[in-house]
Symmetry: C2
Subunit: 517 residues, 2 copies
């Protein structure tokens, strides 16, 4: 019996039906064998383009990845449908075995609810209550009553007791700690504990990484520092704030943990061994910190701070290599910086950049919707300005991500935000190339002039925007020390030309060691 | 008892909870009273911005319109949700009475299915069948067997007979005729009929508008030509191809029709009076046309072609007025042009532009998702190039719509499409201003330099792009006759500065006469 792959079968059929070109955005997709591929800047535009194509051609096709791509394309697909324009929306799902295992929590519509509460405000008699209820669900930690005082006391006592018995305790700060006002407790906790601490990718940007207790970022086998892996494996007690075991946060599930050692502090409960305490962490931490300070003699357990910065010398190739870039950024950053980093290789890379005290930032690594950073940066800067804490916005993104949301530059200038934009320009979707197909044409993207775009989005406001195109590590090294880039009062765009096949070593370790995904 | 509006109550509560700024995209929304409004270029960016804001502020809010806005924002909202970032997504719905009436078919998620068929290809044993079934549902007209021959014969006879008896028959070409290969039958039908014909907004761009039988565009009370309304009201037999009674296609349901006069030709059936015939129109038309040509002596019923072009003299104000612009475009267009027009005032306006023979085009007026045209134009041009019929692409859009999808310029240059872009620049969302709030700040948008954007999106490919900013009717009039604009081999961007409060008279007639929506 002869066999045919699903993708082959599908695109062969499309070709027979007169389709010459397939539109879409790369991401877990099947190569449209025998057909032309036209990459669109975003799924919505892709869906619109497929519609336009279909109106003339009689049938059109759009390929997107599952979940994120599906949703962004929906408005285009819905429009095609209700005007009877025949567009076939092909959604690339993970392999069937992978779906059955459901190992990747970022992946499945239906696997996640899209929002935690919805309400329709159509009844004046219940409107006020409905609004409050919706907000309560979102903000329940602060708005709900505290857990039982005896439960909070019990958990505090148990944690102090376990830490006192431990020989090699550590703290890990993860994503949950960044939400709902935990963040303010993190540094005081570290100061009270005086034990080594790690962050995860999701927890980065909360704790003071200049603390002598900082030991780097932990992401299972995807940790940049092997010493971080060692610390976790040797720990006999892990105090874990807001653990969030998503794919990128765990080095694609390559953590090796002894669960008996973990004190798992979550938003609404604390797990210690087999016991689950009904204790709200936001109420526990203010009790735990003074208890630790007064009862917890741990000075003797403090370890020597290892070398947490990576390669600092210029790469021999003089290329802007991932394994050099991220550590180099450390000394560029300043207290007060707001550092918003895009998904992709940047999201892995930034975990190797040590943030100065008072530097805040994040990536969106669970959902991983590309184009996120440029839009989020604008909102974050506006919020920072409102609190009076705004100093400098650093946007670290990729040229592939800017495709989707480059118009966000216009929001920045419109609201008088003066960012420094670092664009990783590796001629396409490197992370996609890495996963499937180094030379797949659909991962190519057109080259844009980012500084010119910045100007064109605000011709009357920001004609002074500065653009730099840097192709060597030496040039970038000099630029990062340059006063004009550091202290500028006009937007700056640094277009960093990188090798399309260069990915952070931490990524290679995970994916090549595991052969996962 | 004191009363408070839902919107007031909501935004007051948000303010109490520490929200200073609400992000969003205008469209049927409630003004965020007492809060700052930050308009985002698209809903996705708006959702991302609200997320960034919420991460710092503790709570963020996004306002979008229902359906389209909701869907485009989903990826942002889903990302916020699965990382526990508290973002409140406020969706502006029509009033509760309007929802109950459901008068606007473009409006409700759940009111429309988003696609006509879905399948999950996870079973190799059914894959081929599933693919075929999905495509069949979309393309059923061509792929399914024809209707019963006796049914087709009966409907053909009945139509010829009714037309022979009629004293003032007319033909109306609507949206259904533009799908599934009907289009090729439309001009032969007109030539066989030799009776006056109208198009609708959805049906525009199919029939030859230079035909002596062409009588303009019909949209109920929203028809530009009062003579079109008269023709419909006086007709004793209306042969209606692909009638699609959506809001903008019917002048917001202001058609006044005697249903007994209508022969309703739809994709899978024909309604004549109370009788429904199981006849596929694509099989009926090839039988009907020769029957009409040989049996149907209608020459005596041919009417004088009225003046179907509108105001051709320059406006006294010398502004680029809507009521002049659209007729002026008629002589700019050429046979073979592909004219893709955006939603908003342009979508209403373009129905007053008479397309030359062989000029093809459309708007997306049912779903009305803004930003559609730029993306669709790229897909359409690529399809036209593949068929060898591509001559010139004319993109008629607004500066508000370009906000969402301006990156589509990059697709054009990347695929060597040389468009002429007409951007209606009226300093914001005029159609939104018209519906609610002339001076609402959220309808303002930043000014961009479109030609500079075009260059910046393709610095190596299209440095020669030509940009024009025209502020008077006289300037535009001259430019439209200019050889460089007409015959250019480089992209051209015409930024047309218009009065923010100028809308086509046809729109005013409908909305001010009806006080609807």
């Amino acid at each position: 019996m002869s066999e045919i792959l699903i993708g082959e079968c599908l695109f062969l059929r499309l070709k027979q039906l007169g389709i010459g070109t397939v539109f879409g955005v790369p991401g877990d997709l099947v190569e449209p064998l025998g057909l032309s591929w036209v990459g669109a800047p975003n799924e919505l535009i892709g869906a619109y383009a497929a519609d336009g194509y279909a109106r003339l051609n009689g049938l059109g096709a759009l390929v997107t990845r599952f979940d994120l791509g599906e949703l962004s394309a929906l408005c285009g697909i819905g429009g095609s449908n209700c005007e009877s324009v025949p567009v076939l929306h092909i959604v690339g799902y993970p392999t069937t075995p992978a779906q059955k295992e459901r190992k990747d929590p970022s992946s499945y519509l239906g696997g996640w609810k899209l929002c935690c509460a919805t309400t329709v405000l159509d009844d004046p008699t219940t409107t006020a209550a409905e609004i409050d209820m919706s907000i309560l669900v979102q903000n329940s930690l602060d708005a709900c009553p505290p857990s039982a005082p005896e439960s909070e006391a019990a958990v505090t006592t148990e944690i102090v007791s376990r830490l006192e018995l431990a020989k090699s305790p550590i703290l890990i700060v993860s994503g949950g700690a960044a939400r709902a006002n935990w963040a303010e407790h993190v540094d005081p906790l570290i100061q009270a504990l005086k034990i080594p601490f790690l962050v995860t990718g999701l927890g980065k940007g909360i704790a003071d990484e200049m603390s002598p207790y900082y030991q780097g970022c932990y992401a299972g086998e995807g940790s940049w520092l092997r010493s971080a892996i060692g610390l976790v494996q040797e720990a006999d007690c892990i105090l874990w704030l807001g653990n969030y075991p998503s794919d990128f946060n765990t080095g694609i599930f390559t953590e090796k943990l002894d669960h008996c050692t973990i004190i798992d502090l979550q938003r609404f409960f604390v797990n210690i061994g087999a016991t689950k305490y009904d204790a709200r962490i936001n109420h526990v931490l203010p009790k735990l910190i003074p208890a630790l300070s007064s009862h917890y003699p741990l000075a003797q357990r403090t370890k020597q701070n290892p070398q947490v910065d990576q390669q600092l010398s210029l790469p021999a190739s003089n290329k802007i290599e991932q394994d050099w870039l991220w550590s180099r950024l450390t000394s560029y950053l300043r207290p007060g910086d707001l550092v918003i980093t895009e998904t992709g290789t940047a999201q892995v890379g930034i975990t190797a950049t040590r943030f100065p005290s008072g530097c805040h930032g994040w990536t969106q690594s669970v959902y991983g919707s590309i184009g996120y950073a440029a839009g989020a940066a604008a909102g974050a800067a506006i919020a920072a300005k409102e609190t009076g804490k705004y100093k400098r916005l650093v946007l670290v993104t990729g040229e592939g991500s800017l495709q989707l949301t480059v118009q966000a530059f216009s929001m920045l200038t419109r609201y008088r935000i003066v960012p420094v934009v670092f664009a990783l320009n590796n001629y396409g979707y490197t992370i996609e190339r890495y996963f499937r197909g180094w030379d797949a044409k659909y991962n190519d993207i057109p080259m844009w002039d980012y500084a010119a775009l910045f100007k064109a989005f605000a011709p009357d406001v920001e004609p002074r925007v500065k653009g730099y195109k840097v192709t060597t590590a030496e040039e970038l090294d000099e630029l990062l020390s340059d006063g004009e880039l550091c202290d500028s009062v006009v937007p700056q765009c640094v277009d960093m030309i990188m090798d399309p096949k260069d990915v952070p070593e931490a990524m290679r370790t995970v994916f090549e060691g595991k052969n996962a995904m």
